[in-house]
Amino acid sequence: MRLALLAALAALGVAGVPAARAQQPTLRRIAGTVVSATDSSPVAGASIAIIGTTLRMTTDAAGRFEFPRAPVDGLDLLAARIGYEPEIASLPAGADDDSSVVVVLPPNPIQVAPVVVTASREAQLTEEAPVSVSVATAEDLERRATIGIDEAIARVPGVEIQDGQIGIRGSSGYAKGLGSRVLLLVDGVPVNEADRDGIDWDLLPVTEVERVEVVKGTASAMYGSSALGGVVNVITRDIPDPLELRIRLLGGGYADPPYAAWRWRTTPALFGGVDLSLSRRLGPVKLLLSGGGLSNEGYRQNNDDRRAHALAKLVLVSSPQLQAELVAAAADESYGQVLLWCVQGQCDDGGQAYQPFRVDSTTLGDRTRSTKYMVQATARRALAPDLALRGRLSWYRTSFEDAYRTTSDQATSDRLGGELGAEWHPREGRVVDVGTEGTYATVTSDLFGDHSQTELAWYAEDETDVGASGRVTLGARVDAIAVDAVAWNAIASPRLAASWTWWPVRLRASVGRGFRAPSLAERFTSTAAQGIEVIPNPNLENESSWSGEVGAAAPATRNLVVDAALFWSEYQNLIEPELVTSGTEIQFTNVTRARVRGLDLTARATDLVHGHVTASLAWTWLDARDLTADQPLAFRPRDLATLSADWLTDLGGAGAVTLGFDAHVASSPARVEIFEGDRRVAARTLDLRATWRRRGVTVVAKVENALNYIYTLVPRTLEPPRTYSVALTLDQ
């Protein structure tokens, strides 16, 4: 079996794979506990791995771990957990079992997420990642009591979300969600829509998310198309062994517009929702069931929204050698369509040039129903301490029905995916990762027609230590894509990255090629509205880019860490909607050559004001230019800045209270592609929050956009006014 696997590895293109070794290594059992240095209490949910091997697991509720088939050589155990300093425990060589290993983790509140998995497909220490990775942890999500995952990452440095469309470091502007240049993963599995290549942020309930990792910059060498601008990986939460019931109740409302001339209803618009989850371990299986719903009257006319969602997660925990899980999710949403706000004459305008809270009266009652279903199964099997196989199968279906006054459209799309890969540790400090991936996407629609897209890919990556403090990653991926099973085209995406320590600074640098295949919607949309016709362009070519980054992270003082990154991307063939010669027809075409460069700067401090205050500052400066037209790229703000601070105090038996705020500024984009004559202002918001926790009960009260500042990110599309909300979470 092992011989066959190594032969398969060699066939997949791994240089230097040796023939089968003559002897099977001797194994031993290693077990123990991970505890906190503060009070020796067990640390549950800590990641623990034997460095240089494929063996890793998560500690149980008692902080325990066990590796029944560990090598007899001397080995290093790496333990890591959010809120603690990662720790390495060295064990001497020996054939005897050892069941009494204790790994002590010193608390470190500055440690946001010690381990990330998205930057190189395998778990690695955050500071060793060769590219910029930001993480929104479960604590961040709870503190902000967000409704959707997009809200949770909207304050991540370098990220901007415009009407649901994400851009990372200026990779995307705004195109009504079509053709995302960011890939969404759920537990590492791609889930962009098969037809529009967009992202459904409401697919998963935010209460079931452990953390969200955001990889900035092209990641096509690992993830192929759509990862042109970066990757967002939503990691669902670990399931604890004991029976756990979790309920979150959320309610709130929107403030009146700040000007009487814009008032449009006599009572406040409200929203409310409930999420309920139940989980426990049943023998070798951990099971999580979750469901919930939300009803929102909306802060604008025709903006009501009703959602329901369900999630099931099944994890096999029979042995550290085999990790397998099944995740299934469904979401249903019915919402009023708000395309643009009302301008003079389109509604009861009250003599105003525009009414941002109202819509064109002819679109009142326009609605969309959207459903999503996802099933994905993943497995990872450690065949030996130095070799593991992994595989996955996934299916993602999306469908929508527009019921408009003047027209109705529908589309149903399916994305079937599969992957088989291997991870080989030929020696300590080196990991070779190879695999193959296939995706088959179909759409049936009266807007996009009936089409399919097939994508096959092969990838290999070698990550190795260089000297005592350096690490180099070299990899490539080849994708072959066919539309409607014809006209295959192949794209190669190489990547070279390195990280090294120049004490106390951790440096990183990377350069790579990225691409994005046009979505089926961009190729085949055929529709007409208000005298403008959108015509298909089946001959669209791939977008591509060369991207690079140089970054450094260093502790500036005992309690302050600073991270800075210079980044640069050169894009070719960017797809934009263009007016064709008739003047009334629009077609998606490859028109733009562009350059995006900039600077990311973040600083995070803890233990301020006698240990009560945590604060962070993030600033992104962007220079995004369309080189073809010699003008700024549309919808890219030049500056994004967020200042956050939280003050925590322990009330003893009465629990703990946290008070915090986010102050966020996004400069007005230098150029937009629609309604260029409209007045534009910078986005400036102040969000306030207060959290009280006591024995499994958490209450979060928030005031978002506390200044009731009226602004847009997309022309004639109003962002929410002041919003009040209270979330109550019971965790038993």
């Binding site: 000007y259 001339a261 814009w262 009302c342 003079q344 004459g345 389109q346 509604c347 009861d348 305008d349 003599g351 105003q352 040039a353 525009y354 941002p356 064109d360 009266s361 002819t362 009142l364 003047t406 208000q530 005298g531 302050l560 600083a603 401090a605 301020l608 004001v609 604060a615 500052l617 800045a641 200042l643 601070a645 102050a663 500024v665 007045r679 202002v681 910078a682 400036r684 102040l686 200044l707 500042y709 009226i710 602004y711 847009t712």
Partner: protein, 170 residues
């Protein structure tokens, strides 16, 4: 801590120094084409496709000319009692226009043959001096013609072909 304080101060100053978007009164002058208010009467039929203000240089006298508009407005909002409009998507050339009317379009594909059944006049701009007659609108060489107000009555829809001079002849 001083670093954060130094960063916080300009951020909050930035937050406070701009009030964001604010209401703007509609421009009263008509800067291009023709402008006015349409006041609606009667119930909007279920079979409505859209309602627009349409401009003819001369009252058409045959089916061939029925879609020869000099210009037309965006679809009018039908919820409120009245709607302001500015015509047209392509500004009207300076000159005189004999017929400005509110057209109700029934659902269905529009062409020369189906036009008499699908295009109905809901109301016309009338001569202020003699409201029994259609009013002629003159667009000046610079700017537009304002105050072109029309009453559109969905209870008294008339086929556009009924306005052909031959049809109106005694």
């Amino acid at each position: 801590m001083r670093l954060f304080a130094a960063a916080a101060v300009p951020l909050f100053l930035a937050l406070g120094c701009d009030g964001g978007l604010h209401p703007e009164l509609s421009p009263t002058a008509c800067t291009a084409g023709i402008c006015g208010v349409v006041r609606f009467r009667g119930a909007v039929p279920d079979s409505t496709d859209y309602v627009r203000v349409v401009v003819y240089q001369a009252v058409p006298d045959s089916l061939d000319q029925i879609t020869s508009f000099a210009g037309f407005s965006d679809p009018l909002p039908l919820g409120p009692d009245s709607a302001r409009y500015t015509c047209c998507i392509t500004p009207l050339a300076p000159g005189a226009y004999a017929w400005v009317l509110v057209v109700w379009k029934k659902l269905g594909a529009l062409d020369v043959n189906s036009a008499p059944a699908l295009l109905m006049a809901a109301g016309s701009f009338l001569d202020p001096a003699d409201t029994t007659r259609l009013g002629t609108v003159t667009v000046p060489p610079a700017g537009g013609a304002g105050g072109i107000d029309i009453v559109a009555d969905f209870g008294q829809l008339q086929s556009i072909s009924a306005f052909f001079p031959a049809a109106r002849a005694p």
